[in-house]
Symmetry: C3
Subunit: 205 residues, 3 copies
């Protein structure tokens, strides 16, 4: 069992931020694409990009008592969301052609959020089982709000292995934490499993 070093502690604090921002960017794109498909104007697109990119993390932060949530306290989240919204809106022909690749991006975003959500919940002293569930909530929250706002049943509730992939990935992160593995290892194992499950669901589902 490894002693937490200075470097480990730094990783513990930087890792969730990187994962969170990566997930935010990807989900903001998915929100913006849904908004464009529903013919919203640029401001509707930006609102939906922010909602899809940040609802999961904001919900997690409110539920664990981390207030104000990172997405409010830290400008990077809305910056990343706005960037994703603008790129999607003005380059829609490009993003639209890339929508199959966006599916893969979405799987990456889900993995990032599931890991980041579980790590942050653990950091705030939440029980391991609930930390895994909060990783799942972080992963699926944005997509749920995105679909509710355009009056559709959340794809997250239907899509094969979506919530399950997030929960499995977050559970691995929590288990690795209980086994005192390095958080980087936990992130790779958990995120990898989450992505692999979505990969199989998209490829063969």
């Amino acid at each position: 069992m490894e002693q937490p070093t200075e470097a480990t502690r730094a990783v513990l604090h930087v890792l969730p931020l990187v994962l969170d921002l990566g997930g935010t960017f990807v989900f903001a794109i998915s929100g913006a694409m849904v908004a464009v498909r529903h013919r919203l104007d640029i401001f509707g697109v930006l609102v939906l990009a922010f909602a899809a990119g940040n609802a999961g993390g904001i919900t997690r932060d409110l539920l664990i008592g981390a207030v104000p949530p990172s997405a409010i306290a830290d400008l990077k989240y809305s910056g990343v969301s706005a960037l994703a919204g603008l790129l999607t809106f003005y380059w829609y022909p490009v993003t639209h052609r890339l929508r199959r690749d966006v599916q893969w991006l979405d799987a990456v975003g889900l993995a990032f959020f599931a890991v980041a959500g579980a790590e942050k919940a653990l950091l705030h002293g939440i029980h391991p089982i609930m930390a895994a569930l909060l990783g799942m909530v972080t992963g699926i929250g944005g997509g749920m709000l995105r679909d509710v706002l355009v009056s559709e049943i959340p794809a997250v509730l239907r899509a094969d292995l979506y919530a399950l992939a997030a929960l499995a990935g977050a559970s691995v992160v929590v288990s690795a934490h209980l086994l005192h593995l390095h958080p980087m290892v936990a992130a790779l194992l958990g995120g990898g499993l989450c992505f692999a499950l979505r990969f199989m669901a998209i490829r063969y589902g």
Copy 2:
């Protein structure tokens, strides 16, 4: 006027938990049944069971500043929700045949949540009138999120005497509190009124 004894104080703390968990179980079943009717897979069913069973209590807890909410801090809530989801999914023919009885169970759950919500809000020093409203929110929140997630107008907003029954029950709890009645008596009176109103609405409405 009765002095708060040790036993009374114990009741004050245990009663909301029992009522909360009972309400969670019943509403989780209603969420799972809606999910099955919309042909969601087992994970969609579990997500909707958790959402329906816990959204009311989580909303109440966030609004009164009880963070993390009980449903996050205490594993029993997600355990009870998962149990309700699994039972409903794997025994759907049975639960479906019992759906009329579920209406009655739902009335019991509403009464439980209205009472528990009002009691907990009072414990947190919320103004009595708002405590009654928070009892109503606890009662109707889960059903509202359940219906929004399957893209329907919440039945709660249409059903006869639904919000009113919850508000009336919670108001009785609050009034009994102001009259220094025993919390058990308050719960019986308030819960009884809420159930009686729904009983009449279902039977003769």
Copy 3:
């Protein structure tokens, strides 16, 4: 640069309340009108009036950590919402005939909320850029929940210059704050711009 006097500080605390309550009243009317159009009964109308009138402010307060939110801690909010709901329900022929004027009222409410939201976020030490975004959230939150609850895509996401008007008004408030202008001046400039943008959108849009 002006020193904050006793009077300025009083304005800083009273102004958000007045603006918040004015915005609540107007949006509660819009919520109640939508509820009546969907043939909800009086209790559905009151729930939707409260949701539309208070969701924006409650979201803002949860996000900035002002818990319990004003709408829960202060009875005036639910009183104003209930009044708006009752007036709309029982005088629907009148309110319906006035629905064009309600559009103007709505523009006033949006201006009130955008200003109040930005001012309160600044008071709680939120970064100026996020304070402007929170002003927008305060302005559009109620209308979004109102439409989601009747299973429609939020008009806010479609309507010309809606989110933009709120954001522009809130940005002016924040800029005026950074320039140390009197909060009353900030409110007039920001609210005026927000209203003017909506005015043009309704008139010529």
